[in-house]
């Protein structure tokens, strides 16, 4: 069984929800990322979403735009990101790692060589925000062949027919974007999210992670009550922006946030 599937299965048996932190690889330096990944697991993360930096992150708000700029300023390449995952796997063979980013850096390497390298590095899934399932017909069999899950987004604007389509196209989990906007936008409305997640459950079989607008233990707890997982990104990346030259402070600040979320979610 693939790592993501078994992760959600194990959590379901324990009646717990997945805590899924996001950070951009190479932010604020290449050396920060792997220790931070381990620290996040120790603080209670179940799955890690690792951002692959892109020069034109159209779906991201200012916080993650700047994270991309910091990572690219010292030349974090897709190969570097894969090397980080490989290094992470030396000590952690359990925690699923999902690469999140945009299609063009993947296309630049070529689908086959990207998938092969990602799989060998120990990546479990990819989430490309500008790749809807209609355009994924070519890449999907390549990812399948290398046992990489393709995680697709579902939005507040997604029709029922599209939810069915996305549910069939994806594997691992579905990422429900809780609000119309970019990453790091204003707070989400939990009642609205609950209603939408219910709809998605009736139309698709996969576990549902919810992201965008989750900032603290309180919002993480509220969303975890109605979903299978909680994704937190900008709130963590803010901590990197605040301490770019201090990896220890980054690890501590992010671990504290995640530990508080974990605690609130498990209550």
């Amino acid at each position: 069984m693939r790592r993501i599937e078994s992760c959600f299965q194990r959590l379901a048996e324990q009646k717990r929800k997945a805590l899924i932190p996001f950070v951009t690889a190479g932010d604020s330096s290449k050396e920060v990322t792997v220790p931070l990944m381990h620290a996040m697991v120790e603080a209670g993360a179940d799955i890690i979403e690792l951002g692959v930096p892109f020069s034109d992150p159209m779906a991201d708000g200012p916080v993650i735009q700047k994270a991309c700029e910091r990572a690219l300023a010292h030349g974090t390449s897709t190969h570097d990101v894969l090397a980080m995952v490989k290094e992470f796997r030396e000590r952690d063979t359990q925690t699923p790692v999902v690469l999140m980013g945009y299609l063009n850096p993947v296309e630049a390497l070529g689908y086959e060589s990207f998938a092969k390298a990602a799989s060998q590095a120990g990546v479990d899934g990819i989430l490309l925000v500008d790749l809807p399932p209609e355009e994924a017909l070519e890449i999907k069999p390549v990812m399948d062949a290398h046992e990489l899950d393709m995680i697709f987004l579902v939005a507040p604007t997604t029709s029922d027919a599209r939810i069915k389509l996305i549910g069939k196209a994806g594997s691992g989990y579905l990422y429900y974007v809780s609000l119309k906007g970019v990453t790091g936008s204003a707070s989400l409305n939990v009642d609205e999210v609950a209603g939408r997640v219910e709809t998605i459950r009736n139309l698709a079989q996969l576990p549902i992670g919810v992201g965008f607008g989750i900032k603290d233990a309180e919002s993480a707890q509220a969303v975890s009550r109605v979903s299978d997982g909680v994704v937190v990104g900008s709130a963590l990346v803010n901590q990197i922006a605040a301490n770019p030259d201090n990896p220890g402070a980054i690890n501590k600040a992010i671990s504290d946030i995640l530990a508080a979320m974990r605690n609130a979610m498990d209550q």
């Binding site: 159209m58 991201d60 390449s77 939005a155 906007g181």
Partner: protein, 403 residues
């Protein structure tokens, strides 16, 4: 070219021109794009919609634009006769308004009270602010901070028209970053906002509908050539940034095998310097801003900053149909650098009394090389896509003059 496809059958239903085009956006926008495609499909052959569009083009824009024989310049160059398709004479001074009239009609049909746009040189921003003023729509225009600086006149024009101009300070602070920011706005305000994209790029259906709205240029030029020159032109020349004026001129001639076509990209400091904006000449296929097309990118797929004296051509991508036409060999893509464009800008101004936009000056610069290789019984039609008033400060600064 081996076998000629039926050009009118493209893009396909999902917006593909061969491997190019498509719809690469975040899920939040998919519904809005599907709605837009469906609305356009329903309206494009609707007699009332066509009539409304044609009425506005005639009475508000001032179409048809003339096809002007540049006799003195043709004689001076000593070759083919040069005809200028005078899009510079349109209301607001460029071809951009053809498209904003069309998209504003769509916005009205879809009941959206707010429009947004990205702009490079400011011509599309002005054309959007203009139609927004006329229809009473709220209008916000995203513009790279660098472009805000070099196109001050257009910024003020937009403000006078009641639009809010939002300077974009991320990335290279030019057109691509303005487009990123407009996309972010749209994804946030998708319910009440219509995004008026200014060129034949972006996700499907934009490359299709912008092309269709701009094809009035080529349809008129074809008719005018037959009437005034007594035959079809031998060559068409147009500048290519995103490529909307070029596709508008070229498309109605694509099935005319005898008509050669040249799309002129901005070579900036020179293709060999790497400081240019010529993805078709020196880029490779990738995905940006919703479509697959030729891009300027590095080995890691990061988009490279572009350079051109002309803000309207300063873009690392190009409309997907151009990428397809390049690979098919139907259109030849060439380039002109900053110096050549500036020199053509001065030459047309002095020889014909017509001051071209710096964008259009790239087309003139290439035609100046092409014309002498042809004979006086041959005809070149150049798309004079915009007028140069907006560029006077840029040219003056190059001349060392400050106002």
């Amino acid at each position: 070219m081996s076998e000629r496809p039926d050009f009118s059958a493209f893009p396909d239903a999902r917006g593909h021109f061969g491997q190019f085009g498509g719809c690469f956006v975040s899920e939040t926008l998919m519904g809005a794009l599907d709605d837009l495609a469906a609305m356009y499909e329903r309206l494009k052959d609707d007699p009332q919609f066509r009539a409304d569009f044609d009425y506005d083009l005639a009475h508000y824009v001032g179409r048809p634009s003339p096809l002007y024989l540049a006799e003195r310049w043709s004689k001076q160059l000593g070759g083919a006769k040069i005809w200028l398709k005078r899009e510079d004479l349109n209301h607001t001074g460029a071809h951009k308004v053809n498209n904003t009239i069309g998209q504003a009609l769509l916005a009205k049909h879809m009941g959206k009270p707010r429009v947004i746009a990205e702009t490079g040189a400011g011509q599309h921003g002005v054309a959007t602010a203009t139609v927004a003023a006329r229809l009473g729509l709220e209008c916000q225009v995203y513009m790279g901070a660098e472009d805000v600086e070099r196109q001050k006149l257009n910024v003020y024009r937009m403000r006078l028209l009641g639009a809010e101009v939002i300077p974009v300070t991320s990335g290279s602070k030019t057109l691509k970053d303005a487009m990123n920011e407009a996309m972010r706005d749209w994804v946030t305000n998708v319910d009440d906002t219509f995004y008026i994209i200014g060129t034949v790029a972006g996700p499907h259906p934009y490359p299709l509908l912008v092309r269709d709205f701009q094809c009035v240029i080529g349809r008129e030029a074809r008719e005018q050539s037959l009437k005034q020159a007594g035959k079809l032109p031998d060559a068409l020349v147009a500048c290519v940034g995103g490529g909307s004026n070029a596709i508008g001129l070229f498309h109605p001639f694509l099935n005319d095998d005898g008509v050669a076509m040249y799309g002129v990209e901005a070579a900036g400091d020179g293709i060999e310097t790497g400081r240019h904006a010529a993805p078709l000449s020196a880029g490779r296929p990738g995905v940006l801003h919703g479509n697959r097309t030729y891009l300027m990118e590095d080995d890691n797929g990061q988009i490279i900053e572009t350079h051109s004296v002309s803000a309207g051509l300063d873009y690392p991508g190009v409309g997907p149909e151009h990428s397809w036409l390049k690979d098919l060999g139907r259109v030849k893509y060439v380039s002109a650098d900053d110096k050549e464009a500036l020199s053509a800008f001065r030459e047309l101004t002095q020889v014909e009394g017509i001051m071209p936009a710096l964008e259009s000056a790239h087309a003139l610069a290439y035609a100046r090389k092409l014309a002498p290789t042809m004979s006086p019984d041959q005809d070149i039609v150049i798309n004079l896509s915009g007028r140069g008033d907006k560029d006077i400060l840029t040219v003056a600064a190059i001349d060392g003059i400050e106002f």
